[in-house]
């Protein structure tokens, strides 16, 4: 394995429709474990992930396994071993479940393996029974499963996962959390998540973003145990906290 950090982001800025929404963000993702990106709505979490992949206009440095990739096209970056679970599921509504998954298959090193396929089958048995259904007619939660499955099919170097538990039933939230925990044993994950229980279950480190800037980085525990910090950075009030 190369250096300790699989992903390094230095001075990354992102622009959408001519407006800078992420300003000079720097952080790194170690070669193991889960790094969670937290923040309130609209602060730029999603945009940061998309900037790493080159899906939005960006400037700054992005290093994958120590190699600069910020000049490359998205598909090249992905083929270097980046799995992406987008925020709004973004399944191909007009394609069937099977076609959605087939599209995610990658050949060659870092591509799809039998083990990964087995893992996906085990995690989401529902998808196999719905293989011929058009993804657009799936329930919200089922779409989320397709989206996760597409990323988990390949032997990636890193996963970028944006709010994976959104809209999932509590039982599935638990299962997805377990799946990600299992995946995290072999591949590092950069995770955006609002559900603090899931963060608590998975995250080793956190990066907190506000107004397009990194305002806090550190071990996950430090943040979650500090009600004051939670209140200040994420606006989580004591009473909501109590609901946990």
């Amino acid at each position: 394995m190369s250096g300790p950090n699989v992903l390094e982001v230095r001075g990354l800025s992102a622009r959408i429709a001519g407006q800078e929404v992420v300003h000079d963000v720097s952080f790194e993702v170690p070669a193991a474990g889960v790094t969670a990106v937290l923040g309130r709505n609209g602060v730029g979490k999603t945009s940061t992930l998309r900037a790493v992949l080159g899906l939005v206009e960006r400037s700054g440095e992005v290093l994958l396994d120590g190699v600069r990739v910020d000049g490359e096209r998205t598909d090249r970056i992905v083929r270097r071993g980046v799995g992406y679970v987008p925020e709004d599921r973004e399944v191909f509504a007009g394609l069937t479940v099977a076609e959605n998954l087939r599209l995610a298959h990658r050949a060659g090193p870092g591509g799809t393996t039998a083990e990964h396929r087995a893992l996906v089958d085990a995690l989401f048995p529902d998808l196999a029974t719905r293989a011929a259904q058009r993804a657009g007619t799936l329930s919200g939660g089922q779409q989320q499963m397709v989206s996760l499955a597409r990323a988990l099919l390949n032997d990636n170097r890193i996963l970028l996962v944006d709010e994976p538990t959104k809209g999932l039933a509590p039982r599935i939230v638990g299962e997805v959390a377990e799946a990600l925990a299992a995946a995290a044993r072999t591949v590092p994950i950069l995770l955006v998540e609002q559900n603090l229980q899931v963060v608590e279950r998975l995250a080793d480190r956190v990066v907190v973003i506000d107004a397009g800037r990194v305002v806090h980085t550190g071990p996950a525990r430090d943040l979650l145990d500090d009600a004051d910090l939670l209140q200040r950075l994420l606006g989580v009030h004591a009473e909501t906290e109590a609901a946990r």
Partner: protein, 349 residues
């Protein structure tokens, strides 16, 4: 304050345009002579009518997002309708025009009611199909009504003398300008009205409109019929200006031309539609002169052949605008203005 200024500017422009037939201004390269000459007035009048027609198309496409390939049908309904009524009956001009307008509205209502049952490219195709049917009928000259590909001349008996003959071109010019102003105001009115806002909402998201209790189908039908009736009005004015109806104005190509104008000017912009239409008309009418000029004739074949084909130049211009000027001329103007203005406060958090 700002609004009064734009209003005054618009009024000033209008007065200037209205006075053109009384002035002797040369616009070399654009007009064939001085502004008061019939040739120039004819070209300008043609510009105004085309602009009015483009505005009616803007109502459909820009406001309601309805890409019709058959808008020419209602324009042709105006030209042919009026030509036939004047040719076959003794009804005087104004009642005849009213009659044709009612007919145009009825036609639009029926065709709209059917074609609006589908959306997107399918809608474009159904409207195309209906317009094509109209075109076939016009060209086949059933019952000797339309004159086939030879067109139908204006029966001048029922038309006031002031609108006949080259000496009266300036009257026709004023008529065309009046039609443009009328159509512009109607379009502005519709856009600003509640129905207009609802139409924009339908363009954006039909399901959402239904969820808030709106009726997308009805909204679209209203806009469709309004746009079509404006086209019918313009068609009638066109008949008077050209002293005849020609089957070319009933073709799908003609609708495509409207689309080209609206896009040249900038989809969604009223001024864009006007400017696009005027530009297109001037280029279409005058590029031929450039193409046959001595300057072109002296060039080597690789340059001469393309340059001597007006449609080639126009098509190429159009492609360049689409690729390099997103939002058309109106979009470009806006960007230019924005660059001059200081950047507004309040970048999103």
């Amino acid at each position: 304050m700002n609004r009064t200024r734009t209003l005054l500017g618009a009024l000033g422009t209008l007065v200037l345009l209205a006075c053109l037939p009384l002035l002797a201004l040369p616009v070399p390269g654009v007009l064939p002579g001085y502004t008061y000459e019939p040739g120039s007035l004819q070209l300008l009048a043609l510009c105004w009518l085309t602009a009015a027609l483009a505005l009616s198309y803007h109502l459909l496409f820009g406001l309601a997002g309805l890409m019709s390939f058959g808008h020419a049908l209602y324009f042709a309904a105006g030209t042919y309708g009026l030509a036939i009524v004047l040719d076959r009956t003794d009804v005087p001009l104004l009642p005849a025009a009213a009659l044709v307008l009612v007919g145009g509205i009825a036609l639009a209502f029926v065709v709209g009611a059917v074609s609006l049952r589908v959306t997107g490219i399918s809608f474009a195709m159904v409207t195309l199909a209906f317009a094509q049917a109209g075109n076939v009928l016009v060209r086949r000259d059933q019952g000797d009504l339309t004159g086939g590909e030879e067109g139908l001349a204006l029966a001048t008996a029922g038309v006031p003398d002031a609108l006949v003959g080259v000496v009266n071109t300036r009257n026709l010019y004023w008529l065309a300008l009046a039609v443009l102003v009328l159509v512009y105001l109607v379009v502005l009115w519709i856009e600003r009205s509640r129905a207009g806002h609802m139409a924009a909402a339908v363009r954006e998201n039909e399901v959402r409109v239904r969820i808030i209790g709106g009726r997308p189908y009805l909204t679209k039908l209203v806009v469709f019929v309004l746009a079509a009736s404006l086209a019918t009005v313009v068609g009638m004015a066109y008949l008077l200006l050209q002293s005849g109806a020609s089957p070319a104005t009933s073709t799908a190509d003609f609708t495509l031309t409207l689309l080209v104008m609206v896009v040249l000017g900038g989809v969604g912009s009223r001024w864009g539609a006007v400017v696009g239409a005027v530009l297109y008309t001037v280029l279409d009418q005058r590029l031929a002169e450039l193409a046959h000029s001595d300057a072109v004739a002296g060039l080597p074949a690789v340059l001469r052949i393309p340059l001597s084909e007006p449609m080639f130049l126009l098509g190429t211009c159009f492609i360049l605008v689409v690729i390099f000027l997103p939002g058309g001329l109106a979009g470009a103007a806006e960007r230019l203005a924005a660059r001059r203005r200081p950047v507004p406060e309040g970048a999103a958090a």
